[in-house]
Amino acid sequence: MDETKKKEQATTHKIGIYLWIWGLLFVLSFFSYMVDWYNFQGMLRWSLILIFMFLKAGLIMAFFMHLFWERYALVNVLLWPMTAIACFIFLMVAEFEYTVFTRIFYFVTGG
């Protein structure tokens, strides 16, 4: 769909699209609750949690917050800073692994 068309529609989206997204959010939340209910463990649990989380977040941002219909300049300004957060996460993962290592090391060797 080209963007001018999108912009014109932006003021009046059909109610159907909201109801669909709403329903999908319910279904996805139900699924993520089921991950806990059936007590999945390990990689299966983490990957399912992350998949459902990103799907839900994506749907909310794209349709409820209208980013799908928004001009690219705004989307760009909002999404690029997220890479900084991603970097921070990687840094802190390295940090906690190092902390665990030193703790175990000094507990074993006695300092």
Binding site: D2, E3, K7, Y18, Y72, L74, L78, F96
Partner: protein, 236 residues
Amino acid sequence: MSDPKIEGYVFKPGFSGMAKDTGSDQTMFKGVHWGKAMMWIFLLSDTFIFSCFLISYMKGRGSTLVDWPYPSEVFGLHVFGVDVPLLLIAIMTFVLITSSGTMALAVKYGYEKNKKMCGWLILATAIGGLTFVGMQAFEWSKLIHEGVRPWENPFGAPQFGSFFFMITGFHGTHVSIGVIFLFIYAYKTFAGHYDERKRGWFTTMKGDYVEIEILGLYWHFVDLVWVFIFAFFYLW
């Protein structure tokens, strides 16, 4: 979608439009209501705050050698003689998604200038938010009774309490502030401030239904943060 018209400015779609918009003179996002642009900037900074909380939680949980409390049991409820894991949290999640949906519809009806539907849906959103805060208060008092403190708890790693109260408390504050604004905006909608283009209390800006969309952005953001808290704090 909004707009102070800027003379001679034509919105160009696509990536060339993006470059033009980003590098344009005087103001960026021409034709976008300033309140909406500023709400997005605020939400971006709020994203960083919540990210810092969740990252410090990840770091704290990852680096402790004591077992982390098992959230499924800690947040479980005992109803009708059965232990249901995470029951209250699941209900809270559904309540918040429901209120997010009613808010999205309120924005839609706002742009169609359907005052009644818009007002009732904002009111429904506010009540959903209030229910959420109420259940969170119940959850807090339950855990406090069980002996969870920011510095200790009977279930495992002592850091659990401080992260729990900090993260859910900050989120709950956002919800509470949102509920207050939802009630104010429901009143303003019913009173017809947006149809009459009446000025607000602290601004010379004329009332417009775009304000409902701005409020909606905030409310959806609160729901968005809960999606991440639910995944990382309660399910992980």
